[in-house]
Symmetry: D2
Subunit: 348 residues, 4 copies
C-alpha cells in the first residue's frame, strides 16, 4: 500500500524541523515537499547538521505550484499566510493541518482585533476544527482542515477542561500565569530580547493583557464549559530553551479537597497515552517532558481561600507544537494515535 504524501511548509523553523524529524520515521507517511522562505535550495541537513540526509531540497512556498505534490499539507507558516493558501488546497481535495493562528478563532471579527488583519477566507472558519486530541478527537477524525492549538492554550486547556465541564470553578475569574522557554519565539525571531546576553539570567512578563493566545483559550474553554469563560492570561519568558509551565488559579464553586481534584484529573485522562496526572506527592517539572509529547498535570486546593490551583508542564515544541501535530495527523487519518511520536524524554 502506498504511503500518504505529506508536504511541510515552513520546514526549517523549530516546529517544522521537529515535525520533519518525526515524520521521517512515520510508516504511513512519505514527505513529498519541503517549503522554506529563508533556505530555498538547501537541504534540511545544511540548516540543521543533526538531521539525517534527505533527498528533497527546500522550495519557496507557492500553493499553485505545489498543490499536486502532496495529499496532506502541514503549514508551519507565519500568521496570516495560511489563509491565502488553504482555500486552494481544500478545493484540490487536500487535507490541511495548520500550525498557525489563521483558523483557530471562530469569528472573523477576532482577526482584526487580535492579529491586525482581515481574514482572507472567513468562510472556512466554521469548518475548521480547532481542538486538542485529548479533548475532542472525534472532531479531528476525518476533518479536512485542522488548526493546531498553540502551546500556551494546550498547557491551559488540558488541566482546565475537566473542571470546566463539571462547572466546578467560577468561569469568570480564571487566571492563567505561564512561564515559557525562549524557543517558543521561534528560530526566525532573532531579536534583541532573545539575544543570549539579554534573555539569559532574566525573567520578564510580556504581552500583558494582550497576548494573542487569550481569545483561543477563552473560545475553547467556553465551548467546553458551555458558558462564557473569561481568562486573564500572562505569559512570562524564562531563561531556558524548551518548556512551558502553566499555573492556573480558579475559585471553586463548591467544596473540593486536593485529592478529589487530582481524582477528577485522573478520571479524565487515565486512558490518555500522553497525559500524566501527578498525585498529591509530586509536582510537574518541564524537564520531565523535554523532547516528548507528554503533558504532566496536577491539582491542589488552597483550602484557606477555596481556590483551585492547576499546574501543568509540557515541551512547547513537543505537545505544544510538533509532536501534537503528528498526533493530530494520526487521528485525522485514522492511524494509531501514537504512531511516530517520540515517547521519550531526554533527561536530564
Amino acid at each position: 500500500m502506498s504511503r500518504v504524501r505529506v508536504a511541510i511548509a515552513g520546514a526549517t523553523g523549530y516546529g517544522g524541523s521537529n515535525l520533519f524529524r518525526m515524520l521521517l520515521g512515520h510508516p504511513e507517511v512519505e514527505i513529498s515537499y519541503l517549503g522554506s522562505q529563508s533556505y530555498v535550495g538547501k537541504r534540511m541537513q545544511e540548516v540543521y547538521p543533526h538531521l539525517p540526509e534527505f533527498d528533497l531540497a527546500c522550495e519557496a512556498w507557492d500553493v499553485d505550484a505545489v498543490r499536486d505534490r502532496a495529499d496532506v499539507f502541514i503549514l508551519a507558516l507565519p500568521h496570516g499566510l495560511s489563509m491565502h493558501s488553504v482555500p486552494a488546497l481544500l478545493e484540490s481535495g487536500k487535507r490541511v493541518i495548520d500550525f498557525g493562528a489563521d483558523y483557530r478563532l471562530r469569528g472573523p471579527a477576532a482577526y482584526p482585533r487580535w492579529y491586525g488583519i482581515e481574514h482572507a477566507s472567513p468562510e472556512l472558519l466554521e469548518e475548521a476544527v480547532y481542538t486538542i486530541p485529548e479533548l475532542d478527537r472525534e472532531r479531528i477524525a476525518g476533518a479536512r482542515l485542522v488548526a493546531c492549538p498553540g502551546c500556551y492554550p494546550t498547557s491551559a486547556l488540558i488541566p482546565l477542561a475537566p473542571f470546566l465541564r463539571t462547572h466546578a470553578i467560577d468561569t469568570r475569574r480564571i487566571i492563567v500565569d505561564s512561564k515559557s522557554g525562549v524557543s517558543g519565539a521561534g528560530r526566525a525571531a532573532v531579536k534583541l530580547e532573545y539575544h543570549f546576553p539579554e534573555a539569559n539570567e532574566d525573567v520578564c512578563a510580556y504581552a500583558v493583557t494582550e497576548h494573542r493566545h487569550t481569545p483561543e483559550i477563552e473560545q475553547e474553554a467556553s465551548r467546553i464549559a458551555g458558558t462564557e469563560v473569561c481568562i486573564s492570561f500572562t505569559p512570562h519568558l524564562i531563561p531556558m530553551t524548551r518548556g512551558i509551565f502553566t499555573s492556573i488559579y480558579a475559585d471553586l464553586t463548591g467544596s473540593l479537597a486536593t485529592d478529589q481534584a487530582v481524582e477528577i484529573l485522573r478520571d479524565a485522562y487515565d486512558q490518555e497515552p500522553f497525559v500524566k496526572v501527578l498525585g498529591a506527592n509530586a509536582l510537574p517539572h518541564t524537564k520531565s517532558t523535554v523532547g516528548s509529547n507528554f503533558i504532566h498535570v496536577t491539582a491542589r486546593v488552597d483550602g484557606r481561600v477555596n481556590r483551585l490551583i492547576l499546574l501543568s508542564a509540557l515541551d512547547n515544541l513537543g505537545k505544544g507544537e510538533a509532536s501534537q501535530a503528528v498526533q493530530i495527523l494520526n487521528v485525522m487519518m485514522g492511524w494509531p494515535e501514537t504512531t511516530a511520536i517520540d515517547h521519550i524524554t531526554v533527561y536530564p
Copy 2:
C-alpha cells in the same frame, strides 16, 4: 568618632557574604565579628576567592562569648536559631537585625503551624519590628530588634501596598505568583533539586499552598490594608541564579485604567531611591536589578475582567536580602539611608 561595631552571624552564606562585602565599605561600620557554622577558623577569602583580605577569621556562633564583641548584631542564621540568642543580646543592650523568620510573625501560634517549632522568646514578638523601609521606616528608626522581610514578601508588598491602603482591590482574592532564581535556596542547601543538571532547563512550582512566606505577606498586607487580607502564594523555581519576578492578580473594587494604576505607584514611590516605577511602555526585568538594591514595579489593568496586574522584579540577594538589610541598618542607626548600598546593576 569611633565606628559602630557590627557582628555578622552566618557570614558565609550567600546573604551573609553579600552583607559582609557591603559593610566593608560602610563608613560608619567596623565589622567586629564573623560567625559561621561550616567554616570556623577560615577567612572569608578562603571561602569566597572574590572577597578582599580581612583580618578576622570565622568563629562558631556562641551568644554568650560574643555579646560584648559588637554593638549591632546581624543574624543570618537558619530559622529557629535566632530566637535563642536574641533575648541575651537585647539584655546586653545590643541591637539586632534578623535575616530569618524568628521575629517576623506577630502571633506565637504561627510558629508551630508554619515552622513546626514553639517560639522560644514569644515575649519579644510584640516589640520586634517587621517592615520594609519604604512602607514604614519610622518604625525601624530607633528599634532594638528588626526582622528583615523575606525576598518574596518584599517583591509582593511594595507593589501591593498603595492599592491596599486605598482599598482599590478585593483583599480576599489576591493571587501572588512568584518566579525565583535558585540562589534563594541558599548556599548551604546543596540538595538534589538544586543540583545543576536537575535545576537547569527546568521550571517547577514548589511548596504550593504551604510556603512559609504566606503568613508574612498576609500579616503585613493586612496591617497596611487595615483589614484581613487573604493571599494565594505560589513560588516557582526557574533556571537562573539571582532574581525574583512576582506577578500579582487582584480584582479591582472600582474602575481604574492602567495609566491611573501606574500613577498610584508613582505617587507612592517617587521619592524612594530604590523603587523604580515603570510606565505603560516598559515591563520589569530581573536582569535590570542584579547586584543592586532596586525593585522595579509596574501595573496593568486587564479591562475585560476589571483585574489589576502588578509586576515586580528585584534581586533576591539585593533588595530581597543583603542590601535591604544594610538599608534597614542605616534607618535604624539614623545614617543616610543609601550609605554603602550598591546602586549599580551588573548588566547584562
Copy 3:
C-alpha cells in the same frame, strides 16, 4: 525465540536511567533486574517521572543473589565496586559490560596511582576489552567482559585515531582541552561545586594534570599509534547540562592542509552510522548531538605553526555513556549495531 535477559546495576543514575530507557525499546532484550543503592524498593518511575511504568522495583546490588537473574550484566557502579563482582559473574558464564573504570586500564599498577585502590581482580585486566566500537569492533564481538570508554576518552580518541594510525602527528606533545556539561558529574554527585548558583554562569578547569581519564586516553592512543603517546588532558566544567566539546592540538609531522585533514577523517568514518565528519565550512556544536549517539568531528590545520586542531562534540550521556553502551551490547551480541539506539537529536 526468547529475549536475552539483561541486568542493570546502578539503574537510577543518569547513565543507568538513560540505558534503561533505551533497553526498554530493544527487541532482543528483556530487562530482568534493576539495581540501585539509594532507591531500593522503588520503581524507576518514582525516581524519574518521565519514565514509563515497569514491573520491576530496584533492588540492592548483591552479586550472589542476582547472578542467575540475567545473561548479561551492565554495571553502572561507582569506581572500585565492579572489580569485586565481575569474577563471580564470569564464573557463572555471564557477560559483563562495565560503565566504570575497573577494567579500563591494562596494568594493575595504574589503579593505585590513579584511583587510589588495589585492583581486586587483576587477572581479568588482560582479558577485558576496552575500546570504542568504531575503533576496533572486532575485539568487542564475542567478548565476555567489555569496559566502556569514558566520555572524555571517546571525544578524544575518535578524532585522534586516524592521525595516530598514520603517524601524522607528534605523539609526545598532544594537548586535549575538553569542556563538559555538568551531568558528567552524575546524579549522585550532589556537591557544592554543582549547586546551581555555583555552577551556573561559571567556567573552571578541574583535576588539572591529574584527571583519571588521562591514562585511558594515553593507553588507547598508544595502542592505536603503536608507540607511546603522551597527552596533556585538561577538563573544564561549563554551565550546561549535557555535552562535551573537545579541542585537540597536535604538531604535524609533515605538511597537511585542512582539506586533507578532513579527508582523513572522512576516509576513516564514512561508513560509521554515528560519526559525522564536518567539512571546512562547519564546526561541531554539542547541541547537534543532545540525546543522540552521534559524535560530530572536524579538523583544521593552523598553517602558520603547522599544527593540527581536531574538534569534537558529543552528548556525554549518549555517545559518551549510555547509548554507546547499547552499541557495545549490540556488537558483543552480534545484533545490528544501531538497534534501539536513539538516532535523534532533540534540537534546539
Copy 4:
C-alpha cells in the same frame, strides 16, 4: 578644580554602557558627550532601565561637531571607524582611548590581512600605545592615544608575561584555548548564533585559526619576550553571559615545579590591585570576577610532559573591556589607578 570632560562614543553598547556607569561615579570626570548609532536622541535610561537619570541624550557620532565637547574621547566604535576620527581629535589636542582594534597592531599590513581594510591613518600606529596597565603602565602615562587590549589578549598576556620575560617557555609552540560568555559578541550582534535557543546549552569553537585577536596576542607576547612568539589561539563560545576562561599550554624550556610557577606569577603581580594569583590549592573561576576588574590566574606544571599550564579567569566586560578602560584612563591622566573602578564581584 574643574573636572576633565570625557566623551563616550558608542555609549549604548555593552562596553560603553558599563563604562558610562563607572565614569558617572568618577570624581575627576564629567561625562560631556554620549554617542550612539542606534539610539540618537535617547537617554541612557531609556535604553537600559537600570541606569540612573542623566542629563545628556545620545547623539550621532560626528567628529567635527564634537571635537570641542570633551578633553578625552573614549571610542567604543565598530572596528574601522576610529581610524577616521582619531587624527582630527589628536590635532585638536585631545586624548583618545580606543576600545576597538584600529590602533592595536603595529604594522599597517596587518589590517588588510586580519580586518580586510586599509588603515586610514597608518602614521599613528607607531605612536599609539597598546598595552595592559599591569604589563607596561609607563607607556600609558601621558600617552595621547591608547588602544585598549581585547578581552582575549588580556586573559592570555597577563598569565603569559612573566614566563615570556624569563624565556621559561618555548615561544614557538604556545597554545591558547579560550572559553567566552556570549556578551563578548556585543549587544548589536543580534544574530542567529547568539539567539538564546541556539546559544543556550551549546558549546562550539569559532574562528578557528583565524581569530583577529591572534596577531594582537602574538605582537605583545613578542614584545615582552623580545623574540618572535607564535600562538595557536582558539576561542570557544559557552552558554553564559559574562566571563572568559583561558587555558594556556606551553612547553617548558627548563625544569619547573608547580610551586615555582605559581611563585613566578606571585612575584610578578603581588603589588597589583586587580590581579589575584591563586596557589596550588585553588583554580580560577570566572564567577569570582563577574562585575569586577579582577583577573584570577594560576599555574600548573604537567611534570610527565614538562608542560606549563596557565589558567586565567576574568569578566570580559570588566578587566576585558570597560573597567580596564577606566584603569587606563586613570593611568593616562595620572589619577590613582583604582579610582571609580568596581572592586566588587557580584557573587553568586
